[in-house]
Symmetry: C2
Subunit: 514 residues, 2 copies
């Protein structure tokens, strides 16, 4: 058995059954192994950023890693931005990066570069497989590593000869420990502090499951403590029948009222709050003066058990506050952030996955969808744009029986627009709501915020997508995805209803000018 | 003056007058500086890989760096593959990577990551600017560094507060030393060895200028020494009136006859020859047994002077052998690599820049274009695909009065297809000849070569772009580039003639099925 077959067999035995890939010559034996190991599903993408973003979306839905197969250092570079988002999402992910044969690197061939240094930018575990005898056990350890610390990126560098040499040995799965328990004394101490509105529970990671949110809601109802969800959650359960918890705002000055009066901030699966950017002359520390941060449950710890324990102590017999089913009236007229959000909320199918990379155009989505059909929300965890279309693709692979709706900004869409082709190829049930406002609208706002002075004509030109205007119907059609452009809210509702009903991918281009 | 204005002013004073960019919030002051420093031309791209590839193409034509402006670690990641190609091309390039404000990084905000480790993968010079007082001089040193070692990537990490703080000081240009001279004794010793066909002169880098090629041709004509050009030259002058020198083949077994009988291999601006990949059971060392490699002029040394000196010694009064004007007869019938090459050769305008990322479909281009109108050829130096469309874009910015023809494979095109939008926005005179064979055809050949055995149905599916078939006319139209699809050689000739005549970008999709 060649090394590649041992590797792929081990991945499958360890629970990794999908590989998103952009292979090259050095990965040909891995590709060939798909025939020897049919339990591994290969999903071809046209660009590595699609493969890594899809693996992130897959992991968020499946709760276990997909593999990604990339071609040497440049392939890893192309995949890096969405691996960054996966890192911030704590998505378990196994990234196999092909490399030159061990004995060939001495020639410094054109594609040679230092892969491991790049990998350390995003990965918690990086190893190079040195021998075909070991590549099976390396793969098993990579999968286990991907599950550690609440989920992380594991990069296994695979030299071509290790892949093609005979003598591969599949390895048994490496046991993955359960999420570690939090010290009961720390839980008890926290329970003492949760006494009213001066205490804020900041929920993140696995606290955003139905179980976690219900327990948190009970605690808040019983104690008066406030709840917040981290700014960009990897996966948040939402909609009718679930507690609706406000998210930490994007801008520091909007976070200030959210945390005003807080003396205790208890972290439950979330990292300490951090402003996305600093701005000249503005405060950048989100934690108010006099507020103590208590990191109670880190990613990788069993935050749901902590919340259940706290609810048992503090909210015995108290029910969570859940959202009643409520959809907005059918929107009419011009396409605006409000009518967009209302149209999405109104047409969202039951049990959908909602991917939100709408950036500025999506500002009204949280409010409009709070009482919509129950759904799972995925957001842009790491701020590296171009995550929406790939994540939607991977989510649809992980959850083939759930409709996926991706609300996607135009500028960000162009980073990884190639994802549409994979949606067409795999006939994934993804509806892309493509908001075309012909600009990097968020950067226009940021240009104001950073206090740049003086004339701006040439600067503004760098933030405009208006000349020429992108035609996403043509772009989608070119990649095999049926698409339609809408100019009114009524048309949007009608086309969304049609798109989510028909199987396979669709794109609705929402013209939001001015 | 804020740091960003000092930085941009210094870049302009140092000869950097174009910046290809994908800015984000942390780069807003740099963007704003375009209004304060109008001599800097900002060129917006929709994806960082387009920006870096364009800067590479620009540098190859202009012989001096463009700047690239990228957004933190993920932006650098997105640009990495074409920076890899730039590194292999010895293109001078100044890459400015925005970063969090120095005092804000402590919060580990979502976009925070270790930028410098990623940069070292591609850059010969990496620094982080620590203070607005120093950012001007940092920029001047970055430009000088970009010119060192025959051209390299210099990465300057720019924290947001260094960019926005008042107190910036523009710096005078740092003197860039001329290419260093080669030791005259080494030239004299080499001259002794160049005595006949057992000596091969391997030309690369700046030896591929008209001056270098003419001198080399004189030496070969006088001594019987053989000439070869490196496999993937960054910039090669070709066509009627110039010497036509064969390039080192891509596959080791085709290099063997090229170097058969060689006892001396003299490197003139080229690195030692290296096979792109190793293959199971095949030799991977291109240098024949008994052949000594003589590195006479490295990149960064004055190889043209060396060639002139050798020609003066060995070929006094001997003329170079140049190619007579010769274009193939007008091709007819099916679109094949041969009819494609003939159509390109026949229609190539005088003084064109020819960008070749046609991969398998381009195999006949070198022979067909040898006697075509004089042109400058750019190739895929580092093997990281997705270089053609961006490089053509940058070349057109650098040489606005030269027509650019880009022969581009389909699979590679999809890596950086966003480049078409920048061509439309800037109304660049680029004709893209997009070869659609609905597959990663080179990988089909590689799958055979690597000796993979057994069934291949699932593996072959990973190399196919046929389902769904990409429609590049729709993709180009969606980005604002007029496009047409052709199915016969006659139509290709007609459409190429039209495209190269009309100003602005065009795309001709060449259907090469089966």
């Amino acid at each position: 058995m060649i090394g590649a077959v041992a590797l792929v067999s081990t991945l499958v035995d360890s629970g990794v059954e999908v590989c998103f890939m952009n292979p090259g010559t050095s990965e040909m034996h891995f590709v060939q192994s798909l025939d020897a190991v049919p339990a591994m599903r290969g999903v071809l993408t046209l660009f590595e950023g699609v493969a890594t973003g899809a693996a992130d979306g897959y992991a968020r839905l499946a709760g276990r890693p997909a593999a990604v197969l990339l071609h040497l250092g440049p392939g890893l570079g192309n995949g890096l931005a969405n691996l960054h988002n996966a890192r911030r999402a704590h998505s378990p992910l196994v990234c196999v990066v092909g490399a030159q044969a061990t004995y060939h690197a001495r020639f410094d061939p054109p594609l040679q570069s230092d892969i491991e240094t790049v990998a350390h930018n995003v990965a918690g575990w990086v190893e190079t497989s040195g021998h075909e005898r070991e590549v099976g056990s390396d793969a098993a350890r990579a999968v286990a590593a991907a599950h550690e610390h609440g989920g992380q990126v594991a990069v296994l560098v695979l030299p071509a000869d290790v892949s093609w040499n005979d003598g591969g040995v599949p390895a048994a799965p490496v046991e993955v420990p359960d999420a570690s328990a939090v010290d009961p004394a720390a839980v008890a101490a926290a329970a003492e502090r949760i006494t009213g509105a001066s205490c804020v529970l900041l929920l993140g990671g696995r606290a955003l499951s139905e179980r976690g949110l219900r327990a948190a809601s009970r605690i808040a109802a019983a104690t008066g403590a406030r709840l917040l969800v981290e700014c960009f959650p990897a996966r948040l359960e939402r909609g009718a029948g679930l507690p609706d918890v406000e998210r930490v705002a994007y801008l520091a000055e909007r976070v200030a009222p959210q945390l005003a009066g807080a003396t205790d901030l208890v972290l439950l699966g979330a990292p300490p709050p951090a402003a996305f950017f600093a701005y000249p002359g503005r405060p950048d520390d989100l934690v108010p003066d006099g507020c103590t941060v208590h990191p109670l449950a880190a990613p990788g710890q069993d935050v749901e058990a902590v919340l259940d324990e706290l609810a048992d102590r503090l909210a015995s017999g108290v029910e969570p506050v859940v959202t009643a089913p409520a959809t907005p009236p059918a929107p009419t007229g011009a396409l605006t952030p409000q009518t967009l959000a209302d149209a999405v909320a109104l047409t969202l199918p039951e049990n959908a996955v909602l991917v939100d990379e709408a950036i500025t155009a999506g500002g009204r989505l949280p409010a409009s969808t709070a009482g919509a059909a129950r759904h799972t929300l995925l957001t842009l965890t790491g701020g590296a744009i171009g995550q929406g279309l790939p994540a939607a693709t991977g989510a649809a692979v992980a959850a083939p029986h759930r409709p996926v709706v991706c609300v996607q900004a135009d500028g960000s869409a162009m980073y990884t627009v190639q994802a549409l082709w994979t949606q067409a190829r795999e006939q994934l049930d993804v509806t892309t709501v493509l908001v075309n406002n012909a600009s990097y609208a968020i950067l226009r706002a940021e240009l104001d915020r950073v206090g740049a002075e003086g004339p701006r004509e040439r600067a503004q030109a760098m933030l405009s997508l208006a000349d020429p205007e992108l035609d996403f119907v043509a772009l989608a059609t070119g990649t095999g995805v049926p698409a339609v452009r809408v100019e009114t809210a009524e048309d949007l509702v009608r086309e969304l209803r049609r798109a989510v009903t028909e199987p396979g991918p669709h794109l609705v281009e929402v013209m939001m000018r001015g």
